[in-house]
Amino acid sequence: MSVTFDRKIFRRVIGQSAVFMGIGIVAGILTLDRARLPSIDASASEKGIRTLSLEQAREKMAGGNALCIDVRSVSEFGRGHIRGAISMPLEDMDRELARHLDLFSQDKPIVVYCGGEGCDLSRFLARKLIGAGMDQIFVFGAGWEGWRAAGLPIDP
């Protein structure tokens, strides 16, 4: 592995590349393992992830101030989603982030949701987004089910 970024740190990084490679491999394994696990730590205190109640989510998304991301599959998204949300299934996260690159240059809160209370996908995506540099990430725990049941705006 070699990283190519500014020359100022290039030499240093080459020196550290072996260490990084080790970390990278371990991190990769952990990621895969956790993805297969049925549950992960979903406590509200998890570093960098804040959970929103239905009311808080509604407020956050009112007026289009926050960006809403739907983590469910494309077909589920097609059957109905929170108004204004964009689709970003976990398996397509990389491709979708590449499509929505401007997310990285906007200082906008991001609200992530999935099916409902029992769904951990949104928390998982939130953690990946934080790893990618996003720092205003909120998980809407009640998800699609909670939103729809409350009669809040949906598409289509």
Partner: protein
């Protein structure tokens, strides 16, 4: 006393300490000599009887007769003459005084004319002034100061009105003295705060010193420190390790910097008005502009904001740390604000990838056009989080923002290689090849473009690049082969290509094809200034004035800021014999800028010279020489030669001499110019100077005079 060896050493020490601040320093050199009354039979004006300074030196005696004009000096007429010469330089060319002194001290017995020529001082003017009443007055005024102070010994040091008992024995002793007297700036670093001996607080000289070497200290040294607080948030690694603060301690020693936590009451109170959003913040609790290095400190701190380096020449080895911070001014306070991109770089370097990614992203929210942040964030996502698509898209974004940014291109190449996308690999290699051409890394460029030259989609661009490299390496035939192959691919290339091909033909001596292709280059939809300039140059060298007039007129009307094109037009008009029109064009150009005035005055002088119109030719020659006199070093060897020849032909030997003297500044060993200058001096009745020029011509390899 220029020829006193003790005085010479002292002057050398002082000049070395002054460095480049000579002109702006408060140091002044004075001369010691006897001034005789108008009649040689009368005694010289005697110096008042005072105790002169001690130590080694040359003591002025009282000769009965003047040895140069109405002056005399301890080391004879050559010393008196040199003293007067230096005083003349001081008064007539003040900005060249210190350089002249340095040149003199390098080789006191050397030829003053060579020295003067090297510094752009007119020999004839200097020689004239030395023998004038003006220089007598200047020298007499200068001597008065030494006389009033009763100084008879060289060297003697007078600081702020106090004559020191003896001149410091070494440069090491001299430095603190000049620093403490406030006459030096640049060489005082470290002295101000290092001299702590009690005697430093006594005014005058000769105090007993408990320790150290400060027997010449003149003023209190120790001033109160200015307190400064570096306010840092607890969780900000960069702020805690902020290296600029450490650098400041070593440099602006009057700053007493302490770190305090952002959450303390004190910090909150201090930041109540400024409310900065980034940290660390450096709050300076006092006025620092009147401290030694204070103004410089403020200036340097501001430099960081501008992306400049910090403390490059002082105690700061790792100047790149400077980019960790920039400074904003707020209510008289200096606020050091962290830069998220460099913070990200720092965190990236120490392996804190998540925090680094956040910093890069902050950098992007502040400036979405920051291609470095896009690239580095991309590298992080690509390598650490396996977000290949996202990373690749970021490399692409960085590349689009700056197509010459090599790290992004290298990452794109890696991205394409990982995907085994051969088309993309070739495209990136082609682009990398062109970046290498821009950086003049010919071999790398040749390798990269050579690899893609057989890819049909990229062949045209790659071969064009290979042709550029061949031209740069002096292989125009190879360049032509590459370009001919390009023409087989695309018979109607763009203006840039046509310009390149024309240049290759020109290098091969085929001016017909060159002219045709330059013609093509300027007839495309958006022709470049370069293509126009090249065509004009070729037409001028071919003497095709009518065509040149048309092309240059069109080019100059398209790019009026490019005065070269205007000169081509004027040249065409003159070539066609339309002197009045040429004159009008040149007059216009003369008023556009100093650079244009330089060339216009030259062209006008030559233009009128060709028409044998003496008065305007001489007028513009003078204008030209005035501009040249302001250039240091002069950039006029050929032009000065031509103006000199013109002036000589028109009978203006004075201007001719000046022009040739300037030509010698550009090349002092030019035999032909020395000979021409000899003719000028002869015409001016300066046979001695004339002979010297012939001797110099002989010394530089010319035939025997």
């Amino acid at each position: 006393m220029p020829f006193c060896p003790y005085g010479q050493n002292a002057a050398k020490d002082i000049l070395a300490l002054l460095g480049n601040e000579g002109d702006s320093s408060r140091v002044k050199f004075r001369y010691i000599a006897n001034e005789h009354s108008a009649s040689d039979n009368q005694a010289p004006r005697r110096l008042p009887l005072v105790t002169s300074a001690g130590g080694e030196g040359c003591e002025q005696t009282m000769p009965d007769q003047p040895d140069f004009g109405r002056f005399s000096s301890l080391h004879g007429s050559r010393e008196t003459e040199e003293s007067i010469r230096q005083v003349v330089v001081l008064n007539r060319w003040p900005e060249r005084y210190f350089p002249y002194l340095r040149a003199f001290l390098e080789n006191p017995s050397g030829d003053w004319k060579a020295r003067a020529v090297r510094l752009g001082i007119s020999i004839s003017e200097l020689d004239r002034l030395i023998h004038s009443s003006e220089s007598e007055r200047w020298f007499s005024e200068n001597l008065q100061i030494s006389r009033v102070r009763g100084i008879t010994r060289s060297p003697t040091l007078v600081l702020n009105g106090t004559t020191l008992a003896k001149f410091p024995a070494s440069s090491e002793e001299l430095r603190p003295i000049l620093c403490e007297a406030g006459v030096l700036k640049g060489a005082c670093q470290g002295i101000f705060c290092d001299t702590r001996s009690p005697c430093a607080e006594k005014i005058g000289y000769g105090s007993k010193c408990e320790r150290g070497i400060c027997i010449y200290a003149l003023a209190p040294l120790r001033l109160d420190a200015v307190s400064a607080k570096l306010i840092v948030p607890e969780n900000c690694i960069l702020a805690r390790e902020f290296p600029v603060a450490d650098a400041l301690k070593g440099w602006a020693a009057f700053l007493k910097i302490t770190r305090i936590d952002l959450n303390t009451v004190q910090a909150q109170e201090m930041l109540r008005n400024s409310r900065p959003s980034s940290f660390p913040v450096l709050v300076v609790d006092g006025v620092i502009s009147d401290r030694l290095w204070g103004r410089q400190c403020i200036k340097e701190l501001n430099l960081i904001r501008d992306g400049g380096h910090f403390l490059v020449s002082f105690n700061y080895a790792e100047t790149s740390f400077a980019s960790y911070a920039h400074i904003v001014r707020d209510g008289g306070q200096l606020l050091v604000k962290s830069n998220p991109y460099t913070e990200g770089l720092f965190l990236h370097k120490i392996g804190k990838f998540e925090a680094a990614a956040q910093s890069y992203r902050h950098a992007l929210t502040e400036n979405p056009l920051d291609y470095r942040a896009w690239n580095n964030l991309g590298a992080l996502l690509y390598d650490e989080w396996s977000l290949k698509q996202t990373g690749g898209a970021m490399f692409e974004r960085a590349f689009r923002l700056n197509p010459s940014y090599e790290p992004a291109l290298s990452n794109l190449l890696r991205f394409a290689t990982d995907r085994r996308d051969n088309d993309q690999i070739s495209i990136v290699k082609n682009r990398l090849g062109w970046v290498a051409i821009e950086d003049k890394r010919w071999k790398v460029a040749k390798d990269l473009l050579g690899e893609v030259a057989n890819d049909k989609k990229l062949e045209f661009g790659a071969r064009k690049g290979l042709a550029v490299i061949a031209v740069q390496e002096g292989r125009p035939r190879d360049a032509l082969k590459q370009l001919e192959r390009c023409l087989e691919i695309n018979s109607q290339p763009d203006g840039d290509f046509a310009n390149l091909l024309a240049g290759v033909y020109y290098r091969l001596g085929d001016v017909v094809n060159a002219a045709d292709w330059y013609e093509t280059a300027v007839n495309v939809r958006e022709p470049s200034e370069l293509a126009f300039a090249n065509l004009c140059y070729l037409l001028q060298s071919l003497g095709r004035w009518e065509k040149l007039r048309t092309v240059a007129e069109k080019a100059f009307s398209r790019s009026p800021q490019n005065t070269d094109l205007g000169f081509y037009e004027a040249g065409a008009l003159a070539g066609l014999g339309l002197y009045k029109e040429a004159d009008e064009r040149l007059q216009l150009l003369y008023r556009t800028s100093e650079k244009a005035a330089f060339r216009a005055s030259f062209e006008l002088a030559i233009l009128y010279g060709h028409q044998a119109k003496v008065a305007p030719a001489i007028h513009y020659s003078r204008q030209f020489l005035d501009i040249i006199a302001r250039q240091n070093p002069p950039r006029c060897r050929n032009e000065c030669m031509e103006i000199g020849n013109l002036a000589l032909r028109l009978g203006d030997s004075r201007s001719a001499a000046e022009a040739f003297e300037q030509a010698l500044r550009a090349k002092p060993s030019d035999v032909a110019v020395h000979k021409l200058l000899a003719i000028c001096y002869k015409n001016l009745g300066r046979s001695e100077l004339s002979r010297e020029q012939l001797i110099l011509a002989g010394q530089f390899g010319g035939s025997a005079p």
